[in-house]
């Protein structure tokens, strides 16, 4: 078997199976698998087939429009883009420190989003696989069937997501694509009525989140061989951590760890991200492949997202989530796990943390303040980094003296996981598909591995003019009749 599985030696002689589209993920992607006559796997690729163009078309737009415009990259985690752009543009307007009201309003918005996005992913998209089995009856693999068989679980999932959406609505004006953050601060604080509305629900939300952690732990412990080994590929990991090494979704310094948990770099000011991270382009995908520069593109790829964050941080600042983190580490034997399915467990720990942070924020009177915006000496460049639900998100802008954006670079969470997802599906293909007759249930195993990363393929395909595009005309016998490439 071709060990690498990225590129087959003789693709023209192989049979092609495509999973198109990959279902129950955000955006549009496909997986192609090349098999020989004995069903042996020779090539597996996760392709991203959407084409967006945000980095290009925001050039020439006024900088204050950007936080609202770029959030249209996504309908699930728009708040992440909204806030990453706002953080970058804080630097452009010289706002080195936001007012307590502004920073806490943004945090509340962001933690509301983490809660709703994690709930959506776990309950609506993944719970059918976890509760019914990866190759269960296809007609049951959906949230409606979960609601029929496990009504309490489905109900809690729906209500958790609803609460997160309400937090966003109250802080940003709308559940999706609001306007709360502006360069230098926010455009509103919380009213007492709004705070009390959220306080009515928050203790239920914390309880349901604790139940969700228990549920995924039980699922994991019922079949540790499957959950620990399914699609498992060791790698580096990257995340922000707070000033004291704690889990922090809104702000911090960059930390990268190797597969054993040893630090590759730590305490890095994210404004210098470009010195530490590079991006590679490959001809067969619209999605770039980021890597840690010091390790090179072959060995420097890394994971981001809940698994990376929970394992990279030193502790979690809220009690229930910290207890859950310690439980998780006890299970893992004190070492990092590299199992894609462990993403679900860590994602639920993060959801619990988000709920606890929201509770703490709602008891903080700074949210009711009236000092919303600060400004300072105008700058020409800003970098904003945030931990989005799916991982570390980078926004980098340059702005001219006329206030128009001249340069934009985005490294989106899912892009950071590109190699990790590809390696995971190859691992699953090796173990489950190799030499077997391909069935729908087996193909869903591939999707389960991708789904664990909660990829947002729409977000990940933001680039324009950087991806090499190749059009090939293929004869019936597999020969390439003609080929046209754009470098």
């Amino acid at each position: 078997m071709n060990e690498n599985l990225e590129t087959a030696a003789h693709p023209e002689s192989l049979r092609r199976v495509a999973i198109d589209p990959v279902s129950r993920v955000e955006g549009h992607g496909k997986v192609t698998i090349l098999l020989d006559d004995d069903n042996k796997v020779h090539q597996v690729r996760l392709h991203i087939v959407e084409f967006r163009g945000f980095e290009k078309f925001i050039q020439g737009r006024p900088y204050w429009e950007i936080p609202v415009m770029v959030q249209r990259l996504c309908g699930i985690c728009p708040v992440s883009h909204h806030l990453a752009a706002s953080k970058a543009l804080d630097q452009v307007v010289g706002a080195t420190h936001l007012t307590p009201t502004a920073e806490k309003m943004r945090r509340l918005m962001h933690y509301g989003q983490m809660l709703q996005s994690h709930a959506l992913h776990f309950f609506h998209l993944c719970s059918p696989d976890l509760l019914f089995g990866f190759d269960s009856d296809l007609t049951k693999r959906n949230i409606v069937a979960v609601a029929a068989q496990y009504p309490d679980i489905a109900r809690q999932g729906v209500l958790l997501r609803k609460f997160g959406q309400e937090v966003i609505r109250i802080t940003a004006g709308k559940r999706i694509h609001g306007t709360g953050a502006i360069p230098g601060g926010v455009n509103k604080a919380l009213t007492i009525a709004e705070r009390d509305e959220l306080l009515k629900e928050i203790y239920h939300v914390i309880g349901w989140s604790r139940d969700a952690v228990k549920l995924i732990r039980q699922v994991h412990e019922q079949d540790p061989d499957l959950y620990d080994n399914f699609g498992t590929v060791s790698s580096n990991s990257l995340s922000l951590v707070g000033a004291n090494g704690e889990l922090d979704f809104y702000h911090g310094k960059l930390r990268a760890c190797d597969a054993q948990g040893g630090k590759i770099f730590d305490g890095v000011d994210y404004r210098h991200y470009n010195d530490y991270l590079g991006e590679e382009v490959r001809s067969w995908s619209y999605m770039k492949f980021p890597f840690i520069r010091s390790l090179g593109s072959t060995d420097g790829w890394y994971k981001v997202g809940p698994l990376a964050r929970v394992q990279n941080c030193d502790h979690i600042s809220t009690p229930f989530a910290e207890h859950a983190r310690r439980d998780y580490f006890d299970y893992a034997g004190g070492r990092p796990l590299h199992a894609p399915l462990a993403y679900h467990w860590t994602r639920m720990i993060e959801m619990l943390h988000a709920a606890e942070v929201i509770k703490d924020l709602l008891h903080d009177d700074d949210l009711l303040g009236d000092q919303l915006v600060v400004q300072g000496e105008r700058q020409r460049e800003g970098v904003g980094v945030i931990e989005a639900p799916r991982g570390t998100l980078f926004h980098h802008y340059q702005v001219g003296d006329d206030d128009l954006v001249t340069m934009c670079n985005l490294i989106v969470s899912t892009t950071n996981n590109n190699q990790a997802m590809n390696e995971a599906v190859r691992q699953v293909a090796r173990r489950y598909l190799h030499g077997r007759e391909v069935t729908e249930g087996l193909l869903n195993h591939i999707e389960v591995a991708i789904r664990a990363y909660d990829p947002c393929l729409s977000c990940a395909t933001h680039a324009l003019g950087k991806m090499p595009l190749t059009v090939e005309v293929v004869e019936a016998d597999g020969r390439i009749a003609s080929s046209l490439s754009k470098a």
Binding site: G60, R61, P62, E65, A172, G173, K174, G178, T179, G400
Partner: protein, 234 residues
């Protein structure tokens, strides 16, 4: 006792010299419009205020009221025509409400909502209209211009500066800045000018203030355009 005309069957009193639109507004009846502004002479160009007077189409902002007129406005036929005109305005420019800072304060957007416009219907022109960011305080985003000429009239008739003009003919008509360079920075335009206050859409914008007003507090979040226009223009 003032003379009256009927508007959709209702008697509307009017003063000598009042147009149908002015009299209707004074009586609390909204007739959609974009290029009309109560402080300026009517222009009659957007045609959104078209009504039928005794069976014939006419712009209500320019037609003087007369005793006994029978005027139709809120009919399926006329609102359908207004909706089509609004859709044409959307596709002739580049109107991206989702990221426009005038969203919620924009008369074009509010009018589209009022008329129940659910889609642009026509193919977009996607014109190439670079923004003018040369002025230190004001951004001009020509992508959103609907050629209402309110800035032209305000600058000429109130500010006495003639900063703006409409140039070209027919479908090529476009807003220009009266400077050799064509740039706003090379005029004596200031934020205090009346022309800086009258744009019904998102062309003339005070820089660095976009999105400072939260959703829920914007003009048309609080009341629909029919109420806002009648309250403000009585």
């Amino acid at each position: 006792m003032n003379p009256t005309f009927t508007l959709d069957g209702r008697a509307i009193p009017f003063l000598p010299g009042q147009t149908i639109l002015q009299a209707a507004t004074a009586a609390g009846v909204f007739i959609p419009h974009l290029c009309y502004h109560p402080e300026f002479k009517p222009h009659g160009s957007c045609k959104l205020c078209t009504v039928k007077v005794n069976g014939r189409h006419t712009a209500s902002c320019t037609m003087q009221a007369a005793p006994g007129m029978s005027v139709e406005s809120e009919t399926e036929e006329i609102n359908g025509e207004r909706r089509a005109l609004t859709q044409m305005l959307f596709v002739e420019g580049n109107h991206y409400c989702p990221s426009c800072e005038k969203s919620g304060d924009c008369q074009l957007q509010a009018t589209a909502y009022h008329l129940g416009m659910m889609s642009p219907h026509y193919d977009h022109f996607f014109p190439n209209r670079p923004v003018d960011a040369s002025h230190p305080e004001v951004l001009l985003d020509f992508n959103r211009c609907i050629l209402c000429s309110l800035c032209v009239r305000a600058s000429r008739d109130v500010d006495g500066k003639n900063v703006f003009a409409l140039s070209g003919r027919g479908i090529d008509t476009h807003l220009i800045v009266n400077a050799a360079s064509g740039k706003l920075a090379d005029t004596d335009f200031t934020l205090a000018d009346k022309a800086a206050q009258v744009c019904p859409v998102g062309v003339i914008l005070k820089k660095r203030k976009g999105f400072a007003v939260p959703i829920g507090e914007r003009t048309y979040d609080k009341a629909p355009i029919a109420s806002v226009a009648v309250a403000g223009e009585k």
